[in-house]
Symmetry: C2
């Protein structure tokens, strides 16, 4: 993408309304624009990150054997009356009347609708196990929306729902989701710790939240420091193998890690003092096992192998897709701007032309741009007629992990400069070597 | 995808509520489920087609140099008061109050919001030309929703908006959209004819609708039959070349083709009688040039090269993404079910195992499945323990353009059977040849 043909409205000043760094940088880097309180437009750069996050979530859901669907944003109030949640849900639910005065709502979550979809179409245990998921916009009418996409009202969320014959099967689905989430977050460059939590309005007893440690987090968290060193890495996990999946869950949930809702001072005191940590965290996902809460209320039953009608065992599982962008920035930035992990960066690399309009420099940049494209890497090429300082400041602010700088002096020596956003270190090399280096970095991402 | 692990709830009976063939087949093939009047969930098979259509739309927009953004579904009423449309828009607009009693609406279109985004960030002619587009859910509270996704209330639409310095530039943007739309529809296997139309609540004088001919179409259309023979084909068009783009538009819009809104009996009478046609059409897109209607009302100006503040010239351009699925089915089906064009099919090919459980047949199907996957083709493999007749009926209903049938008798002769859904013709060949044949069909799609 050539910057001269793109829409990247970066701001020089810090917006007054932004209290936390992710909100500030998302506005300054031209990623989002507020349209109403807690409601944002996604500008081109922000949308690229949002799409990249969706892609990772989708890939890991498919890998775990889950099947994508897409439910509408508006739901009928009657469906929520069946579960009893229409009256129980507070003012965060946006209630709407259509032109025929029918009561609707903008879905804050989809347990009722997915249960309705299930009961309409599935009647035998032979169709189980089944996990359906979607990535769709949701709405929660927060009293005081703030912190940009971290606590917005209209937000993008992945929500998945498992349907199983037995509690044992449903707990395997729970574990399978935990492992798939661990891999999802790691691919985004995040350390997200599964913590015992409270189930809130979803219901059920078993639930873990995934938290990214950050000073700006809304939750107080208590954990054993050794839990932050655990990594799934690139080990392969067979999602059909219950023991293997459970072993991974045990590895990640044995050390103490709880939110304030479930924190227990007595058990925490048993953690060796040098490992005991109290900090703040950003919730980026949550998984639930709630058994037959919705299937009983809504009559979602299957015929068992013994010929009996039994309600299905269920759980639900969410990832805050739009909120994740805020969490990633909170976890990865410096005073010049964002530092994107390679897994989610809007562009893999930026090209800075130090002498726009100079025939040789322009030609070298063009060749570099095409060479990267031939490797499947779309660079963001700053081809504007701007000073080098302004170009560097923009690149630092928007946080592409790699930058290639091309100028007449380097070209005279047959080199360009490759710079890491994270370390700030630069290396000179031929354009061919630069392309090969960037391609190698992204080969397995 | 193995059917035993998928969610494909096909119906044997024709649903009573479905009056037209696309609605009937989308329900029967397990593509959608109605959740409220005119509001649908997308089941896995339907979602795959929806995603495929979005991919084609995106690719052709990017090819034309347009830049993707994403706006929220909910908008502030105040924004629509600026253009005067909040009061002018009828009961099709879904009006909402949030918990603080602020007036909101579920966007039926986005001219106001995109103009707001533009005025907030662009101030100089140097940023022009600029075309921004999105694919997002919209809501129109139809009095009587019907015909499935063809006249739904919550629907997915691509809407794009061009910002230009002069009327001449804006008309080039209009032409560029026309050509990109022609290519978009052709890639979906559709003949969509640009017809002179009426601009309705969007406003402006220049507008074309794109219509797919179908008996169930809601519009009466009048055209010269020779217009249906025009094809863009695989000619390359340089979207920056105004003359080249205009020549394509002239080619497609010179022959008579109008909706009833703009039909002129006098001019129509000049079409040679043997070419004169009156038929019905489904609207699948529309492009508008409306000049400064919104930019003047909302103060979206730029500084011109002469240093003057002038309102930008604009147009907007829509494709009915979810509705297209209905239109494609109306245009391509038979009495057994859907016949997907290769460009939009949910799976490129189906595999039918005639003797599930037979070790040799199962192994041959597995090898075929993996061989296709190695070519980047995800087959839908019917590995259920069902009669051959039921498997064939399902494949015919869901309409994958190619089917490979594997049974013990063929395997004894070293062959499988490759069948075209469109012609019904079958050919026997080795599994390797079948893979090569299917791969060749999809090579340029």
């Amino acid at each position: 993408m050539r910057l001269s043909r793109y829409f990247l409205p970066v701001l020089k000043e810090d917006p007054k309304e932004a209290q936390i760094v992710s909100h500030r940088y998302m506005l300054r880097a031209g990623m989002i624009k507020q349209q109403s309180a807690g409601i944002y437009s996604w500008l081109p750069l922000g949308l690229r990150v949002l799409n990249r996050i969706q892609q990772i979530v989708n890939e890991e859901q498919i890998r775990a054997g889950h099947v994508p669907v897409l439910m509408p944003t508006l739901q009928s109030a009657d469906l929520w009356r069946e579960s009893g949640r229409y009256d129980a849900y507070g003012p965060e639910m946006l209630r709407i009347k259509d032109r025929h005065d029918r009561e609707m709502l903008y879905g804050p979550t989809n347990e009722e609708m997915i249960t309705d979809m299930f009961r309409a179409h599935v009647s035998s245990y032979k169709s189980l196990p089944l996990t359906l998921y979607q990535i769709q916009w949701k709405f929660r009418d927060e009293m005081r929306p703030r912190f940009g996409v971290m606590r917005g009202r209209e937000f993008l969320m992945k929500d998945g729902y498992n349907f199983d014959l037995t509690k044992e099967d449903a707990l395997h689905a729970y574990n399978r989701h935990m492992v798939s989430y661990l891999r999802t977050y790691e691919r985004m460059g995040l350390t997200a710790i599964p913590m015992r939590a409270d189930s809130g309005p979803i219901g059920g007893e078993d639930t873990h939240e995934f938290l990214v440690l950050a000073q700006t987090g809304e939750s107080e968290v208590f954990y054993d420091a050794r839990v932050t060193e655990l990594k799934l890495g690139d080990r392969s996990v067979d999602y059909d193998n219950r023991e293997e999946v459970k072993a991974v869950c045990d590895e990640f949930t044995t050390l103490y890690a709880r939110t304030d809702e479930t924190h227990d001072e007595g058990i925490f005191a048993e953690v060796p003092e040098e490992h005991r940590r109290v900090a703040r965290g950003i919730e980026v996902g949550q998984i639930f096992y709630f058994g037959t809460k919705y299937s009983e209320a809504m009559g979602a039953t299957v015929v068992s192998p013994e010929g009996k009608q039994i309600p299905v065992e269920m759980g639900s599982h969410g990832i805050g897709v739009s909120r994740l962008i805020g969490a990633i920035i909170e976890a990865s930035h410096d005073d010049k701007g964002i530092i994107w992990p390679e897994g989610v960066t809007p562009f893999p690399v930026g090209i800075v032309n130090l002498k726009q309009g100079d025939a040789a420099t322009d030609a070298a940049c063009d060749a570099l741009y095409k060479g990267l494209a031939a490797k499947g890497l779309e660079a963001l090429y700053d081809d504007r007629d701007e000073r080098a300082g302004a170009k560097f400041a923009t690149m630092d602010l928007i946080g592409l992990p790699w930058r290639i700088t091309v100028g007449p002096r380097g070209l005279a020596n047959g080199v360009v400069e490759v710079t890491s956003r994270r370390t700030g270190l630069s290396e000179e090399m031929s354009a061919e070597a630069a392309i090969a280096k960037i391609a190698a970095i992204y080969e397995n991402i």
